[in-house]
Structure formats: C-alpha cells, structure tokens
Amino acid sequence: MKFTWFHLMPWPHLPDDFREKHRSVWVDIPSTIYDPVRGHAVYNEYLDQLEYADSLGFDAIGVNEHHQNAYGLMPSPNIMAASLARRSSKSALMVLGNSIALYNPPIRVAEEFAMLDVISGGRLCAGFPVGTSMDTNYCYGTVPALTREKYAEAHDLIIKAWTQDGPFPFNGRYNKLRYVNCWPKPIQNPHPPVFIPGGGSIETWDFCLDHDYNYSYLSYSGYLRGRKLLDGYWERAAQKGKDNSPYRAGFAQIICVGETDAEAEKLYAEHCSYFYNRCLHIYGGFADAPGYRTIKTIQANVLSQMTPTEAAKLPLTPWKELVEQRMVVAGGPETVRQQLEELIKDLRVGHLFCLFQIGNMPGDKVRHSTKLFAEKVMPKLKNIWPDHADDNRFWIKPIQKRAVPARLAMEAAQ
C-alpha cells in the first residue's frame, strides 16, 4: 500500500464572514484578500510539512495545480516539487499534476517533469489531470467542449516527447511543432509512472486502463459515496480483460488522527469546518461549464450530481455527520486504522492520498496528526495487499546512486 502525504495549500486566513460576503472561493474571489507577506509564512510552513512527511517515511509527498483561488495555492506545482526535490530524499514526488490542456505548447510539461525526474533521481510520479472546470475553462479560458480533445493531444505529445528520440515533427490539431526534442529526458524509462486524477468522467476509465495508468478519484464526499464510481471503474477493468491490481486505483481522503476519538474532534473539527465552509464555497455557475463534461458521463449518473439545495447544505455538515458519512476519517489511531482498512478494501485502492493539513489547521496540529498516523496507523496497513507486493508497474523506479544536496549532507553529518 502506498501512502502519499498530500497538500492542497489552502489560504488559511479567509475572514469569518467569507461565505456571506463573497460568492466563490474560486475564479472571482477578490485578489485583495491575498496577503503576500502572510503568504511567505504560509508557503514556507506548508513546504516544511511536506518535508516532515518525507522524514516520517511516507511513500510520496504530493502537490497539485489550481488557479485563482483560496482553496489551493499552487498555480505551478512544479515550483513546489522542485523545491521538494532538493529538500527530500526518499519519498516519491507526486505531482498530481499538471493540467496539460493548459500548457502552450504542452512540451513544456514534458520538459519540466523531466527536469524534476532528473533532479530527484527518478522519484517523479507524473499526474495529468484534465483540470477542474473552474481552472481550465473559467480561469484559463479553454473552450469547454474542446478541453478533452486538447487534453488528449497534449498527452500524446508529452508521451511521444519522452519515449521517442528527437527531434521529430508533431502535426497536431492544436500543436504544430516542426522540431520536438525533449531536453532533458526523464530518468525513469520509458517514462515516470502516470497518475490520472479523475473528478468522475467515465471516459477517463478507459484512458487509464488502455495505457496502464493509475486512476485516482479525488472527492470530498467520502468513500461511501466514492464507491459507486470505483465499482464502475473495476467493472470496466474486468470488461477490458485487465488484471485487478489495486495499484491501478487511488483515492483521496481527509484524515485526522488524535490520541483518542475525542481528541480528534477537539483538535480538528474547527479546521474541517473551515475547509467545508470556506475552501469549498464554490459558486454554482463555475462548477461545470456546459460542454466540459461529456453527455455520456452525465447520463451515466456516477457523479451523484448534487442539486443546488444539497450543495448549499454541504458546508453546514456538522462534525458528527462528516465522520459518520466518512467524508472525514477521524479519531484515535485504531478508529482511523479500521476505517481506512474498510476504505482500502472496499474501493480496492493501492494508493491513498492522505490530506492531513485541512483548511486553516496550524502546523503543530498537522504534525501531531501526521506523526500518529505514521507511527500507529500506516505500519498496520502497509502490507494490506500481500498478493500484489511485487507489482511495481505503478510506482517510481529511482536510480540507486543519487546525489545528495550539499546542505542536507552537512545536516546529516552533524
């Protein structure tokens, strides 16, 4: 079982009346709310947390890409991963990922990901999301109905740039390149493992299965609701005659570990409330631009599309319900272990993207929860898939002899 310590990097200083005063945390949130001097402390604290996770033995540390929002402050996840490449030594770098339809030309992603893979000695996991509609359509102006075609072409170009010797011409619909020539190339051969985070589009299932990419479902409505989607994915895998290695699938989960169930509520409830209330306060008009989802996906009804009234209620969900519905997995180490075991086996996932820093949760609480998890929960779940222990198709293959940054070498010597 692979555990990724995943950061969203939310803005932790949204005012108490944010919901009342503003219609959305994304796209048109006033830029005046952002304070760069406070931002300096926030970014550095968040990077410290990721480095701390590396030191505790998480399999990967994870970052992602979002734009124009206070939900997640990484317009460029590659900048974060570059910093982590030099300040971590063991974990995979899970960049989940670059919204490849937005890069012009997308060869930029092939180059930057290759740089990260080379700098880190082959520790990169390459994520290729389509991107949320807020990011892709409303912030970056991609025509909704063309988003998926652009995405598919960008994917083909990047993989070709990594796997084929350059230079070669690429005559795409959206990219006309006479000389594609990726310098540097990634260390991992033929290329870093590819992770596709899905928001619920069923076309993505076939795409992942056909290429043997990991499919990961990212949602905040918990694994009880995520099941419908993962069940569909596994059913599709069987139809296509694919094996059922759990490493084909991943799931993201908010996790809060305390010494006891009561301590978890006491320490973390307010921060989960901040997250659901403010970080997920997304104006309905920005949630899904018409044309962004395919008709097939809407018809398949796997999204459990929330009505406006249901969506409005979500942020007001009290702690007890968040925990009961497993939107948040929280409690003492044994409670968390039990629930995650259920999640992992029910969804049949080999990758868990663990969210420990929630909303405005301060660093000391983040470290407390992370440490309890690393010491008392993770070891007991590590070997949950013994039959697939040798399946390394969906994981990094770092080189053995890796350079050690001088400063880390000095610290190690002291």
Partner: protein
C-alpha cells in the same frame, strides 16, 4: 407548430434539423444560444409574413455532429453549407444573438451570396467599456433579469417549470445545457469575439440592425460598433425590449424585417 425535417450537410459531418413554416419571401433564421423550438412564438408570428426556414445548429433539437466543428471558420462554413442545402433563392438571412454573429460571419465570408441581412442583437464584438455578462457562468435563475426587459415575462417563458432540486430534471437540464451551450461555447466562450470586427468590412449585403432598447446582455451601444464597420446599414431600436426582443416585441421586429424585405 412548424414542420420539421433533417438534412445531412458538410460532407455528411452534420445532421441539421430545419423548422419550416409560412408563405411569403424566403427568410432563413439562425437562432441564439438558447435555441428555438417548433413552438417558438416568434417564429410562429414570423411565418405569417415569410416563408421561414430555421435550421438548428448541432447540439440543438435533433441536430448533431458538433464535434466535427471547432473554430469560427468551421461553423461559418457549416452555416453556408446549410444555406446551400436549403436551396432558397436570395433569402433574407436573419440571426439573433449568437445566430446574428454567425450570420454576420457568413455574410462577410460569402459577401457576394448574401444580399440582405438582418442582425438582431448580434454577438461577435467586444467593447472593453461595455463588457458582455458571462452567460456561461449564469444560473438559470439569473436569465430572466439578464435577457428580458419585462422580467416577469422572462420568468414565465424561461424559468417556469425549472426545478433543479429534482434529480431527474437536473440531469436532463445538464444534458441539454451541455449539448447546446457546449456547442455555443465554440463561438462565445469565454469572450464572444472571434475577430469578426476585422471581417465586417467585407459585408456587401443591405444590413438591418435591430436592438431592444433595454438589452442588458449586449447593450445597444454595440449597434454603433457594427454600423461603423458595415457599409450599408439601417438601425431600428425597439422600445421596452431586452435581449429577447424577438419574444418581447415580435411584431415590431417583424415589421422592421418586412421593410428590409420589401
């Protein structure tokens, strides 16, 4: 209720439903982003004075094949292919909103073929001083105030029967929005400007611009911008009407069209 038939056009890449009714001079009507149906009261009124043919763009009604059309040029040529397939002699070409943008593009591209053109509150230009609201981020409840002078009428015509809290209804609504606005987005998203202002000079048609005086989506000031670029224009501004001037003041619109046809 209008007659309906479907045509295969553009080398078989598009299936186009055409609504037809009426007697009189030939008129081809290109609809706006909200689409039209066989029950449309404006088309019904129009068909009392004209022989109306209203093709539906891919994603609207039974029309299909939108995936084969991506750029404004693709869609302009689709429009011209539809016009060819309708086999009408020298028709009055009319477009409303998005359909006006398309009709203007067609008239600029096939300048010698389109001789009479009516643009009703057309999209296609962008003035920084008068930004057009983002219809793609608007919620259904916002439409009446955005599109109508008489908001109550807008509520009756647009939002009556809309119940987004019903899961089945919501799904149907999302599918329709995805088909229709998904295609419209190729012309209008995120800013309804695909360079038309640089092509308007080519239009040779006698052109009539029609606007509702209380259009809150594309303000009447845009009429001036169109008239500055098209050489032979007339302008009619209709009182007590918003962007859906066709539904709010159909008779005034039709009288203006009849004068152009005469």
């Amino acid at each position: 209720m209008m007659d309906s038939r479907t045509l295969k056009v553009s080398d078989g890449r598009a299936k186009i439903q055409v609504l037809e009714a009426g007697h009189g001079p030939d008129l081809v009507f290109f609809h706006g982003a909200g689409g039209v149906t066989a029950m449309d009261p404006f088309l019904d009124a129009l068909s009392r004075r004209f022989r109306v043919k209203a093709p539906l763009l891919p994603g609207y009604g039974e029309s299909d094949g939108g995936d084969n059309f991506r750029t404004m040029l693709d869609i302009t040529l689709l429009g011209l292919d539809i016009l060819d397939a309708l086999k009408v002699e020298n028709p009055l070409v009319v477009g409303h909103s998005m359909g006006g943008m398309l009709a203007a593009e067609m008239a600029a591209t096939a300048a010698n073929d389109i001789k009479r053109l009516a643009l009703i509150a057309p999209a296609g230009l962008w003035l920084d001083a008068h930004p057009i609201p983002d219809v793609f981020a608007a919620l259904p409840a916002d439409y009446p105030a955005l599109l109508f002078h008489d908001v109550k009428l807008g509520e009756q015509l647009i939002t009556a029967g809309v119940n987004l809290d019903d899961h089945e209804f919501l799904r149907g609504f999302l599918i329709q929005a995805s088909r229709q606005l998904g295609f419209a987005g190729k012309m209008l998203f995120p800013i309804p400007d695909r360079g038309l202002s640089e092509r308007l000079y080519r239009i040779k048609a006698k052109t009539l611009l029609i606007w509702g005086d209380d259009d809150k989506l594309i303000k009447p000031v845009y009429a001036k911008a169109f008239r500055e670029k098209i050489r032979n224009t007339d302008y009619v501004e209709i009182k007590n009407a918003g962007h859906m001037v066709t539904l709010e003041q159909p008779e005034a619109v039709i009288s203006a069209l009849a004068r152009l046809a005469a």
